[in-house]
Symmetry: C2
Subunit: 334 residues, 2 copies
C-alpha cells in the first residue's frame, strides 16, 4: 500500500510506543502502518477470530516492524502487561455487525461493554497517563431527527450494538472526567478501503459488494435511496492520530464525515463505474433488517474540522484504490 | 403499613400474575403489597444480598400471600421458569449505589446491563406478551443543562451506574421496538418511605439520615444547597402500576418527580422537625464524591401526568409516615 502522509496528524509519534486493539483488523492495520512509518514502536492486539476483522495479510508488508500479540480484549488479565510503557492506546477492537448483535447480544456486550470497562480499569490502575482514542460509531444516534447529524443529536440506538457501543463511549468519557485519563472518542461513519472485510457484510455492506463485483457476480443493494457518507481509511487514520494527541480533544466526542453524501444506488453505480464492469440488483430490505435500519444518515463533522481534520480522498479515488488493492489480494480476503 | 389506593392505577390486576425482580427490596415490596391487595398472584425474586435492598421484614405482613423466590437476576437460567404464565414483570432489581459502581464497576455491569439483557432475552423467547415496566433513574441525565429536566434532556451519565442503567433502559426500549414486547421505563428520582434501606447511603442518603436521627445521633449533610425532588414510595407504586398497563406508555420513558423541590438543607430541617428532635452538620462534599455529583436536579414529569399520574403524598406527610415506620421497626433495618 502506498504511504499516506498528513502534516497535521503525523507529528509527535516518532520514538513513542502505541498499542492498537483490533490492530490486525481493517482500520487498526492502517493505523499500525502509519505509526511504523512515523517511527513509533507498535504493538497490535487482535484475537484473529475469523468472524471479525483481523487478518495477518493486512500487515504482511510491515510484519517485521511491529509486535503482534494475539489475545482477545475480553481477556481481563493480559492488559496489565500490554499497557506497560505505552504512550498511546488506539482502542479500535469491537464487534461491528448490527445483525450479529441481535443474534448474539451477549457476545456484543462482552466485547463492546465489559472488555472496554476492563481495558479502562487496567489503564486506571497501571498506566493512567496513557492517551486513548476510542472508535465509536454513528450507530449510537439511531434514526436521525435532522441532517446532518451533529454531536448534540439525541442518542437513541436501534440495535444492541448501538446500545453497547454507547456504553463503551460513555465509559471512555467517564474515565477522563473522574480519573483524568486523557481519552477521546470518534464516531465513525462508513469507513472503506484496502484491508476491509469483504468476506461478508459484517463490517460494512460495501465489503460484500466489492467481493461480488470482483468475482463477476451481481451484488444486492437493499433499499437504495438511503443517503450515507463514507470515509476512506487513510482519512480515518488522520482523524485518529490527530484526536489522540490534541489537547482540545480530551474528554470529547467527534463525528467523522464527508462532504460527499450519496445514495446507496448512486454509490453502487459509482463502484461499478470504477471497476469498469459489473452490475447490481435493488431489493427491499429484509424484514428483520428493516427494524434496525436507520434511514438516511450523514454527519456534521465541523467540530473535528475545527481541530484541523478534513477528509482528503474523494469517493471516486478511494473506490478506485480499494478495488485495485482487492484485485491484487483477493485470495486472502474471501 | 396502611393500604394505599389509586383509582387510576389499581384497575386490571385482580386475578393476574405478576413477577417482581427486587421484590423483597424497598420499592419492590410495596409493589408486592399493593398487588396482593388487588388480588394478583405475586412472585417476588430477590437475591437477599445484604448490601442490596432485599429484606424479609419488608413483606412480613404479607408473607403468606405471595411466592418468594430467592435468586439473583444474574442467574440466566431461572427466568425461563419464573416467567411462565406471568402477565406482568415489574423489573426493579438493580445495583443502586453510585459509589459502589465506581469501586466495583463489573458488579454494576453484571446487574444493570448483563442481567437486564438476559431477562429480556428470556421474555423474548418464553413470554413475549408479558408487560414490563423497568425502574430507570434520573442518574442517566448527569448534570442538568436546564431545570426542570424533561425526557428530551441529553443523557450524559456521570458514573458507571448511570452508564449501565442507561444501557438497561435502552435494552428495554429496543426489545419493544424490535420484538414488540410491551415495555416502558420510569426514570425515578429520589424515592423514600417505609422499608427503604437505612443501614447506609447505598440506596439514598436520606436512609442514613433517618437512621442516625432515630439513633439520636447527628447526621451529615454534604453540600446542602443542592435542589432535589422526592417521591413517597406509594406514589411511585402508583406510577409503576399505571405505566405497566397504559397503552400510551409502551416503548416510552417517563420521568417521575414532585411539585415540591427542596434544598438538602431544607430537607434536613424538615426531617428534624418531623421527628421533633435531633440535628445535623453540613460538610463539604468528599473529593471522590464531588466528581460524580450532579448538582441541582428536579424533573419535569408532565408526560406521565398526562397519562393520569400525580404524586399524592406531601413531603411533610411522607417524612412523618417514614419516621413512624422506622421508629417501630428499627431493629430490622440497622
Amino acid at each position: 500500500m502506498t504511504p499516506h502522509e498528513s502534516p497535521t496528524a503525523d507529528v509527535g509519534f516518532a520514538g513513542c510506543s502505541a498499542l492498537i486493539t483490533g490492530g490486525l483488523g481493517f482500520i487498526g492495520s492502517h493505523v499500525a502502518r502509519r505509526l511504523v512509518g512515523l517511527g513509533a514502536r507498535v504493538t497490535v492486539v487482535d484475537s484473529l477470530i475469523p468472524e471479525y476483522g483481523g487478518n495477518l495479510q493486512n500487515i504482511s508488508d510491515i510484519a517485521g516492524q511491529l509486535r503482534i500479540n494475539v489475545s482477545d480484549v475480553r481477556d481481563p488479565h493480559s492488559f496489565r502487561s500490554l499497557l506497560a510503557g505505552q504512550d498511546y492506546l488506539f482502542n479500535l477492537a469491537g464487534q461491528t455487525s448490527h445483525q450479529d448483535s441481535m443474534d448474539n447480544p451477549f457476545t456484543d456486550l462482552e466485547i463492546n461493554c465489559t472488555a472496554q470497562l476492563s481495558i479502562l480499569e487496567a489503564c486506571r490502575q497501571y498506566n493512567p497517563g496513557i492517551r486513548i482514542v476510542f472508535a465509536s460509531t454513528r450507530q449510537i444516534y439511531g434514526r436521525p431527527d435532522y441532517l446532518p447529524v451533529d454531536e448534540r443529536h439525541p442518542l437513541r440506538p436501534v440495535d444492541v450494538n448501538g446500545i453497547n457501543k454507547l456504553a463503551g463511549e460513555n465509559y471512555h468519557q467517564l474515565y477522563q472526567q473522574v480519573y483524568d485519563i486523557p481519552t477521546c472518542a470518534l464516531r465513525l461513519t462508513n469507513t472503506y478501503g484496502p484491508a476491509m472485510r469483504i468476506k461478508d457484510a459484517r463490517q460494512t455492506f460495501l465489503g460484500i459488494w466489492i467481493r461480488r463485483l470482483l468475482e463477476d457476480e451481481p451484488f444486492e443493494v437493499w433499499g437504495g435511496a438511503q443517503l450515507r457518507d463514507f470515509n476512506y481509511v487513510d482519512d480515518v487514520v488522520d482523524a485518529l492520530l490527530l484526536a489522540i494527541r490534541h489537547p482540545n480533544a480530551e474528554g470529547k466526542v467527534f463525528n467523522l464525515g464527508s462532504p460527499e453524501v450519496v445514495s446507496l444506488t448512486a454509490l453502487a453505480q459509482q463502484l461499478v463505474a470504477a471497476h469498469g464492469r459489473g452490475g447490481f440488483s435493488i431489493r427491499d430490505f429484509p424484514a428483520e433488517r428493516k427494524k434496525i435500519d436507520i434511514g438516511d444518515y450523514y454527519s456534521d463533522y465541523r467540530a473535528l474540522a475545527a481541530l484541523g481534520w478534513q477528509p482528503q480522498v474523494s469517493l471516486a479515488s478511494g473506490l478506485t484504490r480499494t478495488l485495485a488493492y482487492f484485485r491484487e489480494h483477493l485470495e486472502h480476503y474471501r
